[in-house]
Symmetry: D3
Subunit: 225 residues, 6 copies
């Protein structure tokens, strides 16, 4: 019976889902679990505020149920879910909604970074998310490993300029490395995987794409069920 | 211009709202802020799961806006909001929705207990809430002060039996005091204020009703705006 | 029977007591607890060193007993005490001396700030106090929420220059906000309430006057006894 | 170019390596990284003391170099290493010895458990290991999530009796669940995977086999290089 | 110029001072610093409450000044001070009063225990001291190493019965070792040194006499000035 | 029967052992324990990497056994061991190897600093050691007291230039004091004692030589056996 992992992008931007899908190619194996990247039709254009985070919980849980049926229709089973937004929206509600493993990308990005360095830095998009991240890292019990969390502070329009985005990622990464003591970075967003390798090379330290990290952990949990 | 504090009971049980209202009598002063206890019409019968917590956020924010208008219609101003459920549902979304102070009863119950003892114990209703409480206390950064959190484990029907409920509160309080080192308790529910004084006397240590604690702190913040 | 809250200024400066008294006006209600601000006759001119802190304990406990009698003479009861010095001198001795609630302003200022932001900064007067504050915040178990503690470093004479004092408060507040990550401030002194609103407006973030915070919490505990 | 993951059993017991190899079957995919389980020829019969832990570092690093050559001889590349002993012996020396990811099973078992529950319990073999585990969890910064660590206390001979071993695992798991608050368990040994599913079913909560967890994380890191 | 270490017993019981003096014999060397055990004439009969702790600060600082003069009269210099009460009364005031090192026995007992085990247990005399100890260990930042703190709960009269006292020490030590995970104990009192060796032997783990620990550390600091 | 303390320099540099020996002169008393400084013949020229740390464990334990025999040949007993390298290599293996106390200089340097200030800074030699130090301080449970750890970053050749070395020590000490909040320093190396007094005077705050601190604590434990 085939196993299916559903990676749910809780915003409605199909381009983001496509970028996630592409980043997961190395984790697809011929006889491995099938990885499906799903856009949350009812999701907002972006998840920036706590209200966005909270508003997405109900459609997310609906999507999980829909994906479980999808897997059955494919003659298989939903083996794990990944919530592909760095705020891990609805993670605990989702875990109540299904008996399959549900993983958040922030959670898994941080835990994976903890195997790659002593102090992790987070490169966030928006300044307004940092307080939310801090609360979440505290609830995870990992603030002792946190070096810092800095926003690149670019608007959605500015993020379209890849050169400028990369320059900001480098600047923030250098600040985290040189002044805040980070020796590993986590990208604080589902859609930055394309910059990961270049950023790691530029900074000379590991950089974790949280969606890749979460899907890798999901594959382990899927395989072992 | 009159000041108004809105205490929002996020479940739909009018009896709970009435009990809260009664517990707040000592905090009402002739020329003090007016305290309004409001039942969330769209709320669930009880908030037991994380899904209940998350589902209540949107109606709660709607209620806050409605209460702001209510205060204006009374010729005054909404000066503070209290979310009267020990899961502090929607606390951070509510803070984004208004520029007035918003206080959660779990938060304020714990902070108030920290002025009354070294180690606080929590008497919860349901075993299923304890993991959620733990995450929340961790996100608040106060687990160093937590002695323990134990559920009385009574069903809604059983809670109607006041004698039995009080006996369970006493038993759990003794366990927290004698085996887990608590020297102050927090009632882990909005609707237990009627037991507070008797439980404190039985145990010989302070017991905090979180709604009273939160409204007291709200009065301070309301008065000083 | 009338309820009385005694706010004890442990230094002997009557002007400081008067400033505290004025700052508490919004917390006085016609039928609320009466708030009495008391100068400790035997207190030092200022509490700057640990020796000052320790020396004030015995007169403070004497004052508490005297205030209890004062309340009785007024035909009422002492319902709570507030120690109005940011070192919370004698807090635990005072709690042994009376069965009424005793609140420290540092304690309550910090706990109140924890409802207003993720990371609190403290604006202290003297560099020499910061180690003492740090030990105290650690004993409270709240260092995980502390952004930083910076002294304005003005002498008593310089503090008389209000413009200069405000400028230093702003400079220190900006440092705490911009480089140490504070999103809420606590004034680390009993006598700075007059600057609170202007400083909050200047910085665009909440600023807590600890004496107001403590008296608000005291009112709650007084009302509920 | 083929990718190879080497799982090094640092004790010399071939039976343990075989058990590990069998437990990893679900993580092998036709076009995935090849997983090789290697017995450390120079390793001790068991790793019980800190001296055993320290003594195994040099042969372990030698084995890593040998495995790198082995991968080249197979026309591929060593993509990640897993140290399959719950003391994570030589983890940091190994990371200095190679530029490939090196993962410890204790580390990954704990991090994976952190995605499955709030408080993890550890079922250890020997009482003497628990102090060492505690130091290690503290160095990882995760003691805030630790419920407890209890040894089953069976000798090597007794471990051969599977029924008795399973009974002890169940008893210790119940103690961790019911009295110490664990809601997820980690098996504190490389060779207990065969009990995992039955123990999880018996206890009604997730149980993590640390070697499976580490190899799953290694696959992610291998795939993404 | 001779070096002198003053060990100040802050209660007025000469018998306690004599017991301390005897316990320090192994730390006296022909050409080492001279160790003087001093009874605080103005001290209370026992230090049991926070008020006792605070009341002793001023006479303690006076005694320090007197001891400095004593050393000069002996043609030498006061090289270090030890406050021989497990509440470390006046430690920070004393450090302001002199530029010589001042060590507390609770502080040094705990720090020494941290070199002898992973988790220290404290055997206290009175239940009422435990909250105070907890605050102090938190202010020291060492609660992560604390296994537990249990009082033997004997009155002064009962303490005179050595057999009974030893039986209680053993019972409390066993509780700390077997149920709370302590692998090293600290005696929570200045006057229990005579039981140390027998208790360590009975329990099979190290037991630290805090006065010996503090004087040993004082000798180091004295020697190196 | 004479008591002997063995201070083992785990690198093979005789000049370092000689410098240690000289720094310990103030701790030698006519009738005190004899302090022997021993060079580990099989040790590396320097301990810079984790592999160096791990490689030295076996010869270190051999040396401990040899020193125990040495003490017996001198008609006495080995009373304590000190591992004189700031990475505390092999500390826990050594403790398994002997029933005498074994102390690490990093451990004792930090614990001693905790009696001299609120926040300790560490002046390290090499940047590469800082991650290792951090893990170790975390395993000790003392990161709440750590202000920062900065490397002077001089090569072995450059360290021969004493003027340059002292200038770097001063610069790093100022950074730790002025920007990271340290009020006491620990020298992060066994061989810097000669700079201690001058650095303390330059910075106006205590500076701990860790080897002196460890030997002082060892003397206490030796005396009391």
């Amino acid at each position: 019976m085939s196993k299916h992992i559903y990676v749910i992008n809780p915003n409605s931007l199909i381009a983001v889902t496509a970028a996630i899908d592409q980043a997961l190619a190395p984790l697809r194996f011929a006889d491995g679990p099938q990885i499906h990247c799903v856009t949350l039709a009812d999701g907002p254009a972006g998840i920036q505020t706590q209200r966005d985070v909270d508003a997405v919980v109900t459609p997310l849980c609906t999507q999980i149920a829909r994906s479980e049926r999808d897997a059955e229709e494919r003659g298989g089973t939903a083996a794990a879910f990944v919530i592909a937004c760095f705020s891990d929206p609805g993670l605990y509600s989702a875990r109540e909604s299904t008996d399959r493993p549900v993983l958040g990308i922030a959670e898994c990005g941080v835990l994976t970074a903890m195997t790659l360095g002593q102090k992790f830095g987070v490169v966030s998009i928006l300044q307004a998310s940092i307080g939310r991240h801090w609360r979440y890292f505290a609830s995870m019990g990992v603030t002792g490993r946190l070096a810092g969390d800095i926003a690149i502070g670019l608007s959605v329009a500015e993020l379209a300029d890849q050169q400028r985005t990369f320059a900001r990622l480098c600047a923030v990464g250098e600040e985290l490395r040189d002044r805040q003591g980070a020796d590993v970075l986590v990208l604080g967003c589902a859609g930055m995987a394309a910059y990961r390798a270049a950023l790691a090379e530029h900074l000379g330290m590991p950089v974790v794409d949280p969606t890749q990290a979460a899907v890798a952990m999901a594959m382990g949990q899927a395989a072992l069920r």
